[in-house]
Structures are given as structure tokens and as C-alpha cells.
Symmetry: C2
Subunit: 177 residues, 2 copies
């Protein structure tokens, strides 16, 4: 799985003792690869009426615009993870307001927790995974250059509750499941 | 990691090529164990004013009362996972209403998505992981025999929004982080 030792694990499907499902088991060393769904945390972050987007400098979808978001790390709360991603990708210090949406992409076993957030100050800059970061007024959002469908969903869902104090988090739009 | 092959993987900490963090790497075969936070999905499910609880038949906390909840499987949405857990643990067919809470237990890298739900019919029975399942009126909830702190949190949070249509999901109570 990496070339550090010049060897490759050799996985086969088998039911580990005490389990009730087939898993990937390494036939070399017996390691069981318990794969789990992955959690992405991110935010629709605003400064006044403008929305923070980051133009990706890495694959997949390099050159396209996305929300500051990424994988939750071990021992991290989702809120802390969303703040860290804004810091890493846009050098942005953000304040979490509330949960905007929980999306899921079952095909790739991903659950996304997206917060509504605000910038603490008007200072942003591209981090290593961004070519460019920018605050967009609604009518200038680059809709056709968004990196992922869930970026589109989150922006539109954000707009629906822009003046709402209390709301239930959105999930995937009907056409998005 | 299991005894199926009579061998044990031999993990050491190393930074895989292209990565920026130490991970567990098997010195036998080079497998990188990218550990991720785990997602638990569950529900506070009611029938009229009574709340469904399950008395655990498995460790940890065998004999104590819990909500129907468990790990999200690969390629499963959180809503489908919460329904599956209610079915498995209480033979209960449930309807998801909305997200009640997102709790996180960073010590064990766990994120819990707990829904508010209702039983579709008044038919429940203990599944293989439950000794007993029961619908409790609020004033008979076995507070001192709950399996986990987050069960207590979810019940009290449920109570706070019992008549609310729109509300933001709760997160860990102050004393619970
Ligand atoms: Zn191996
Ligand atoms: Zn190995």
C-alpha cells in the first residue's frame, strides 16, 4: 500500500473470528482492515454578505472552487476540525454558528458535517491546498466552476436560512441521493 | 491483530510518503493503517409519550440501558444506519423526524449523529444485542442504569425540544466535553 518497505500488503476477503461480515484481511500478517465511513467537516463562512470560497490547488478538481472542508482527524471534534480546515485552506479564523447540513455520499462512504460560520476578521490568504481564496457576493459565485455537488448544495441551503435563527440541518437534496 | 493466520501485524509509527503525519505502518508488509474517527448513528425513538430503550446483552456495559445506536456501515447514509440499528436492536421499524444532536467523544475519536424518531407501530422485541427492550414514560427512565453519558444527554436534549418543530441539533453539554 506504500513503497516505504518495497512490499505490498496482500489483502483477501475473509470473515474475522467474532465478526459477522467479510472484511479485507492481509494474508501476509493477518491485519484486518476495518474500513469505516469517513467524516468531512467544513463550513459556509461569511464576512458581511460575502461567502468564502477556495480555489483548489490539488487533485481531485484542482482549479475549481470549494468550501473550506476536509477530513476530520482522530481525537478532534467536528467543530474544531471545521475551524482547522478554514485555517489551513484560507488562513481564516472562523466562528462556528450552527450546523447547516449533514450530507452523505454513500457511494464513497462519506458523511459531511457543514457548519454556518463567520470570519472573525477580514483576513484571508491561500493555504497550501488553495491557489486562491476569495469572498464572493451571492451574484458572483462561480456556479459552473464549483468543485463538488455538495458545495452547490451547501451554498443554496445556506441561502435558504440566511435570516433564520433556528433551523434543522439540511440533508442531500432529493436529486442528490 | 487476529489469530486467523497465527501471526500478528507489527506496526510502527512512520510518516508515509506524501503524507505529513505519523501513521501506524506495518513493518512486515508496509500497510498504512489510516485510522479515522468513527460515526455512530442512533435515535431517541418514541411511541406516544414513551421512549424506546434497550438493555444491552453485550459488553461494554452489558445489562445497562441504551438507545438503539451503532456504527455506521460502509455505503450507508446516517438515516438508513439509524433505522437499521433500531431494527437490529429492538426489532423496531422507525420513522426519522430530524437530527436531535451531534455529539463527539474525541478521546475515542467518535462522532454520534442522533435522530428524533417515532415508532411506526407498537411492536418491539429484543434483538441479539439486547436482553430486553421497553418503552419508558419519562418519569420511569432508569437514569442510574444508563449505559453511556451520551444516552443521558440525548434523553434530556430530547425533552428540551419535545414540542419544537425547528431546532438546531444539540452538541455535547458543557460538562460533557
Ligand atoms: Zn500485511
Ligand atoms: Zn502487515
Amino acid at each position: 500500500m506504500n513503497d516505504q518497505y518495497g512490499r505490498e500488503p496482500n489483502f483477501e476477503r475473509a470473515v474475522p473470528p467474532g465478526d459477522n461480515m467479510e472484511r479485507s484481511v492481509c494474508s501476509e500478517c493477518g491485519f484486518v482492515d476495518y474500513q469505516n465511513p469517513k467524516i468531512v467537516v467544513g463550513s459556509v463562512t461569511t464576512w458581511n454578505d460575502k461567502i468564502l470560497l477556495c480555489r483548489r490547488s490539488i487533485e481531485p478538481r484542482s482549479g475549481f472552487w470549494t468550501l473550506p472542508a476536509g477530513y476530520l482527524e482522530l481525537h478532534e471534534t467536528p467543530e474544531v476540525g471545521a475551524k482547522r480546515e478554514a485555517q489551513e485552506e484560507a488562513c481564516a479564523s472562523i466562528e462556528i454558528d450552527r450546523v447547516l447540513a449533514i450530507y452523505s455520499i454513500p457511494r464513497i462512504s462519506q458523511v459531511q458535517i457543514i457548519y454556518r460560520a463567520t470570519l472573525k476578521q477580514d483576513e484571508i490568504a491561500a493555504g497550501p491546498e488553495s491557489q486562491e481564496v476569495k469572498l464572493f457576493p451571492w451574484n458572483e459565485i462561480p456556479w459552473t466552476d464549483l468543485a463538488f455537488p455538495s458545495v452547490d448544495w451547501a451554498l443554496r441551503h445556506y441561502r435558504e436560512v440566511i435570516n433564520a435563527e433556528q433551523f434543522s440541518p439540511f440533508s442531500n437534496p432529493q436529486e442528490g441521493l
